[in-house]
Amino acid sequence: MKMANKTGGAVRSFLKKFSILNHPAIQLLLRITIGFLLIYFSLYKIADPAEWAEVIYQFRLVPDGLVNILAVFLSWAELFAGIGIMLGLFTRASALLASGLVLTFLAALQINIWREVYIYCGCFRKQAYMTDVNFQNRNITFYILVLTLLILFNNKPRIGLDSIISKRGEKRSS
């Protein structure tokens, strides 16, 4: 909890310093980019869950009995988070979920980089054979995490379904 507060504080002060990042148009652009990436990553996993399960299996971090259910959950959670971020529906919750997913993937990649485990797949290319790909994936994943945190810790009003829904709610109550 302390760590999350610290991270939140650091991201918020960063957002204060570079207030341009809080601009609704910039935030919208960020959301469309991250949302698109998440949806794109999730679709091939949903289309071929067996291959995605094999990737999780190769990470050797969960027992075989949990691999399939995790494969199903991760791909669909990625899709839902991507859609939520893109449309601005439950935006912060979607960004929190996406941050959790990205952070988990980052940790798994880093552990396997340390263990020098060879993994036959990456997010961007279906067949990747080199450990270098792990490094590449880790770096790209880190940038995605930073961008997702910028969405998560932005408290300013947004362009999206959340603001439309809350405006309607306010109108009804008044």
Partner: protein, 159 residues
């Protein structure tokens, strides 16, 4: 707190949608089952389905056998003279056996049984390194044992 509830709601919805989708459309995995590859290795063009070909290659010394299983499995028993290149530590393992094989060598990869995908992925990897004569022993060590052929329990260099 509200954000956590919303996050949990999205996560559970995603899980439910995923389970329903996989159960209805039968996309290849059972969400509640254990991981087991559904790849049929016998259909791979590199698979040696005729076991006699494997035995001939072994007896004539025409091929280098490579055990793609973990080191502890290898040490417990492997095809005589086979090198160990554990699939999960492929890059490190390749570094260890690289000076013992040549690009022109015929390589036969094997795993534990016909469901083991380690030799299949290992074969992909070595082909990527320009080894052209790469085959897979369909059935793995289980088939070798079933045929009553000898096993070695030597070190990882096959000595």
């Amino acid at each position: 707190m509200k954000i956590l509830k919303q996050t949990l709601f999205i996560a559970f919805s995603a899980l439910a949608a995923g389970i329903v989708f996989n159960l209805i459309f039968g996309t290849g995995i059972n969400p509640f089952g254990s991981f087991a590859s559904d790849i049929d290795i016998s259909k791979d063009h590199r698979a040696i389905v005729n076991f006699n070909d494997v035995v001939t290659a072994f007896e004539n010394g025409d091929a280098v056998f490579i055990d793609a299983r973990d080191k502890k499995d290898y040490l417990a028993g492997h095809i005589p003279r086979a090198l160990n290149a554990p699939y999960f530590y492929m890059e490190r393992a390749y570094g260890l056996i690289a000076d013992k094989i040549r690009l022109s060598d015929a390589l036969i990869f094997y795993g534990s049984d016909e469901k083991d995908i380690a030799p299949l992925r290992s074969a992909d990897y070595y082909q990527n390194y320009n080894f052209q004569n790469v085959r897979i022993l369909f059935g793995g060590l289980a088939k070798w044992k079933a045929a009553g052929l000898p096993l070695d329990g030597g070190d990882e260099n096959g000595k």
